[in-house]
Amino acid sequence: MNGDFLALLPKGPRLPAAAAGAGPVSLLATTVFAFHYAEGVVVAGDHRATAGTTIFSDKTEKILELDSHSLMAIAGVPATAFEMARTLQTTFEFYRRSQLQPMSLHAKIRALSRLLRDNLPATLQGVGAVAPVFVGVETANPGAKPVIFFYDPLGAQFEAADFAGSGSGSPSIKSVLHFLDRWGNPRPAAMPLGPACALANRLLMTASEFDTATGGVHPDRGEFATLKVLSREGIRTVSASEQAQCWKEATA
């Protein structure tokens, strides 16, 4: 028994390899991101799901808890992304229970990379690309801090020193975060939860100004981002009412 849940699953039919002349990978219509703040990492996302120019839903949850100490922010084809998250949830728990120890952080990071690589045929055909952001903390090391990793749709993984974003609305967010990280006072990494929470909502509002696929965040209407924070103690969801309080204090 090696604790590999994927080994238990039957090998399903794979999509055929991309035909010659297949189009480029389509951009991922969403906005998710993560940045370090004073007490850990903030992971946030908008609520909009689109199909072409149609708004499919403005109530989508894109920040998914994989286990008690790791999160995945999904960008890309929802069917594939949600299935990847579900597979990872089962994989991590299966390993923890069968091996009587949690999977290491590096193994979790590689597990997501493996799923993306297995999805290569769909990615190359432009019908199943996923480019997630992974946030986790090594539970075996009492001194470890949460880390942020982002992936390309082919499975390459990159650690982000300060922040990472994915989806069509992420370029503007990454620009703002870079600016704040370089010249901000305070920098996002020094912010307590309240200001960090307000910043996350402001970033999504900024992204929605330039990206039609980003939406569902309207503090004036009581609609806030999906927002979770990860620290050594684990994951905490910041509720809409808590975000409303943060927003009120930040805009007072």
Partner: protein
Amino acid sequence: MTEEPYRWLEAIANRREYVREQLKGGTPVFAVSRPEGILLLGVGHGHSKVFEIYNRHGFAALGHPVDIEKVRQVAIEAAHLEGFNRSAEDVTLRRLISFALSPSFKNSFEQIFSPPLIVEAIFAEIGDRPEGDVLVRLHFDGNHHYDAGGVQVAFHQPKPEAEALAWLKARLQPQDSLGRTAALCLAAWQALMEEKPLAELAPPDEPVGSMAGRLVEAALLDRQRPGPVHYRELPPWNS
């Protein structure tokens, strides 16, 4: 040999005797349904008696460590495959026992040219309320029974096991704390190990003293724990 019915019956009887003999070194394990959740308790050397299976499921066992490990893996694999292919709510103890575990035990016991599983086990599933809790006593030959009284004991000798079960049922009160519940289980554990008659055993006024250098392994399927995973290991203690 197995072509002759008498020989087959004789082989099965020998096998039953062999398994019971092998189980003699095993120490009892307990499962008790409480308002807080289901307490699983055994005495061992750390991660040797009480285990997590799935979000709402755990088990406690005595027997050969290798066989306990085999059973554990089978249960975990079956539960996770079911949870992945359908949903976590579809993983029920009744189905795990009927379709995965009990047949495996029975096959293992009756295939007389392969080694039997030397395991006696209790499986537990927590419900939203104590009335929804499910406790199953699974024997090495695949036989199993459900208990509606909220208590299960597994030991290698049926008669003392039944006495311990009756003793616990008679003494456990709804208002008992988890500590008191554990103390009663440990008193029964000690009586079973020392072959004392349970009928004469008084409830302990203070925690059980010596357990020959072993640790109490206990876990709670915690009804109030937020999130999907209800299993919570309680820190091991000496007595």
